[in-house]
């Protein structure tokens, strides 16, 4: 990589970054989240490779919203995501299974609030 010219990409100012450009094997992986027109939250819909945040956003627009899947896109470098370890699933999630008292179903709404 001979790049002696490159711009630094920051979160607030995602200028095209050329540092990674030419060796596509070095292009980082990005996770793509899209919010649909009627949705309230961004949903994970896939991933892609790009050399910088601007390219990641444009590629996500081209690959993941071409059939009107959504109206808002987030891209996050995959390395920024910390995921729970599947091996820990038992201790992390099983205990919640038998604690019904944590669900909001144990009291009756007064008449006046029934149509809240």
């Amino acid at each position: 990589m001979q790049g002696s010219r490159c711009k630094v990409s920051t979160a607030l100012n995602p200028e095209p970054n050329t540092l990674n450009l030419f060796n596509m094997k070095n292009w980082p992986l990005w996770e793509v989240f899209v919010r649909s027109k009627n949705g309230l939250e961004h949903r994970h819909c896939g991933s892609l490779h790009a050399s910088d945040a601007t390219m990641a956003l444009e590629n996500a627009r081209d690959v993941y919203t071409r059939r009107m899947e959504g109206v808002s896109i987030w891209v996050v470098p995959s390395k920024e995501i910390t995921a729970s370890n599947p091996d820990d699933s038992a201790e992390l999630f099983d205990p919640a299974k038998d604690k019904a008292y944590r669900h909001p179903t144990f009291y009756e709404l007064p008449e006046e609030l029934k149509h809240m």
């Binding site: 010219r5 711009k7 095209p16 490779h49 790009a50 390219m55 590629n59 081209d62 690959v63 071409r66």
Partner: protein, 249 residues
């Protein structure tokens, strides 16, 4: 009527031929995302082409349809500029051609949305959103490749140098253009030249690319006199319709 039809050809043929060139990249892009992006642009352009041709077909007579207009004209009846028929020599050429056209295309559509012809106005308004994205996409790639490695910079400069000679034609007016301008239907493209070169120069400078200094520019596409590439391009484009007349998918 003939003036309006020729005027429409001048706009729509650009989209058809450029869409065809981009279609050639399908499956051959540098990577998956760029392959999809370039062919998405092709689909946008072909969608615009269809709108224009459907409109022109209405008063062309001879049972003209969007398909006969797209596939069955002879070479000299196509009025696209030379720029859009240039081949996909390498990615720098493909994206350079796109960039040099997109800047013009957006400027032109911004004026066309004020046309006194309601159909052209409507097509322009819808197309502007698509072309705004095209321009953003191609400009970003010029910056990446220009202000990139020595190799990308050299290839990008080479492509810009070669394609520069085709930029002036964008601002030529045919007789049909002049007639439509006088009826407030058409865009006076001569007025776009200054803004065009200013925008292009800014982006090239930002990309650390040299702005070519040319004294002689190619022309002829708008009169139907095309480069040596057009014959081969039309052979691909027209082959199916000519071999199997009235074929349907």
């Amino acid at each position: 009527m003939q003036n309006l039809i020729q005027y429409i050809y001048g706009i729509a043929d650009n989209a058809l031929i450029l869409g065809q060139r981009l279609g050639e990249l399908c499956g051959h892009g540098p990577n998956l995302e760029t392959d999809i992006a370039m062919t998405n642009i092709a689909l946008d352009l072909l969608g615009q082409t269809r709108s224009y041709y459907q409109y022109a077909a209405k008063f062309s007579g001879n049972e003209a349809t969007e398909d006969t207009i797209a596939f069955l004209r002879s070479e000299r009846e196509y009025k696209n500029v030379l720029l859009v028929e240039q081949p996909n020599t390498d990615f720098a050429y493909s994206i350079g051609r796109q960039f040099l056209f997109d800047v013009y295309h957006l400027l032109m559509l911004e004026q066309l949305q004020n046309s006194s012809d309601e159909t052209l106005q409507a097509i322009a308004k819808k197309s502007i959103k698509e072309v705004s994205y095209h321009k953003r996409f191609s400009s970003d790639w010029i910056k990446r490749l220009g202000d990139g490695t020595e190799e990308s910079h050299a290839k990008m400069q080479n492509a810009i140098n070669d394609l520069w000679t085709f930029t002036d034609e964008l601002f030529h007016q045919t007789d049909a253009d002049k007639a439509m301008v006088s009826e407030q239907i058409g865009v006076d493209v001569t007025q776009l030249k200054e803004a065009y070169y200013s925008i292009i120069s800014d982006i090239l400078t930002e990309s650390t690319l040299q702005i070519p200094d040319l004294k002689y520019f190619q022309k002829g596409g708008k009169q139907g006199i095309h480069s040596e590439h057009m014959g081969y391009l039309l052979a691909d484009l027209q082959y199916m319709q000519r071999t199997f007349p009235n074929m349907n998918w």
